[in-house]
């Protein structure tokens, strides 16, 4: 039988939950015995996606964030979803150093970090409806 596993999280878009979310995902992933570096890359990518949902998606109003993590043998798929304001221009948003909130000392490196720390990053978004980030990584 193929070795698969799934977990889901739902929590409020409060900044205290950023630490909770990345630790919860990391602890679920740890059943695959990833290296310290792989685990840390995944924690960072999750932190980026969740922070974006809080800061940009909900702009510090309270909404819900949904995370699904799927394990399929050594392949991990992480989905982070918000029902916030959405992204107008995804291509531009993914450019390194682009930020819509420079006044908050954001550096515009979130998507670049997710992209380089994970194997694959997909962004789906629709204005007024929300954003879904899907990240994939294979651990050895």
């Amino acid at each position: 039988m193929k070795d698969t596993n799934v977990m889901k999280l739902e929590f409020l878009s409060k900044s205290t939950n950023e630490g909770f979310a990345r630790v919860a995902v990391a602890s679920f992933i740890s059943q695959l015995d990833p290296t310290v570096e792989e685990l840390s890359d995944i924690k960072t990518a999750v932190s980026e996606a969740v922070t974006n949902a809080i800061v940009h998606g909900y702009e510090n109003t309270i909404g819900k964030i949904y995370i699904t993590v799927k394990i399929d043998e050594r392949n991990i798929t992480i989905e982070v979803k918000d029902k916030g304001k959405g992204i107008e221009n995804i291509e531009k948003a993914r450019e390194p150093l682009y930020t819509s909130k420079p006044q908050l000392e954001r550096s515009g490196m979130g998507f670049t970090i997710m992209e380089s720390f994970m194997d694959k990053l997909t962004v789906r978004s629709s204005l007024g409806k929300g954003t879904t980030i899907v990240m994939k990584k294979r651990v050895n």
Binding site: S47, E105, S107, I113
Partner: protein, 114 residues
């Protein structure tokens, strides 16, 4: 959980927690207060106690650099763990600040350079 130490015109900031969007606002405020408390010429970040940092930390370091740079001050960093160093390298932070082995080395070089 951030410790501050003054040594002449040098301010040493030792951060002892994970740096993310949730923690960095408070850290920023404390550092800015400390910088303005004395006439700080050199800012040294001690990251020995930092096991996690995401892009919020890039903004935090960059913002402090801008403040110091306005007054012709310098910024340095010591104690980067490999995972944190990866973020520094990726984001180009080493273009605006130098990394040293320890606080003593940083003090020697930064004060001499000024």
């Amino acid at each position: 959980m951030t410790d501050f130490k003054f040594n002449g015109s040098t301010l040493i900031v030792k951060i002892n927690e994970e740096i993310d969007h949730h923690t960095c606002d408070l850290i920023k405020n404390k550092i800015d207060l400390a910088i303005n408390f004395r006439n700080t010429k050199h800012l040294i970040f001690d990251f020995t106690g930092v096991n996690f940092m995401d892009s919020s930390g890039i903004g935090m370091v960059m913002g402090r650099y801008k403040n110091m740079h306005k007054n012709h001050g310098t910024v340095a960093v010591v104690g980067l763990k490999p995972t944190v160093k990866k973020i520094f390298t990726m984001s180009g932070l080493f273009k605006i600040l130098s990394e040293y082995k320890n606080v003593e080395e940083a003090m020697k070089s930064e004060v001499k350079m000024a």
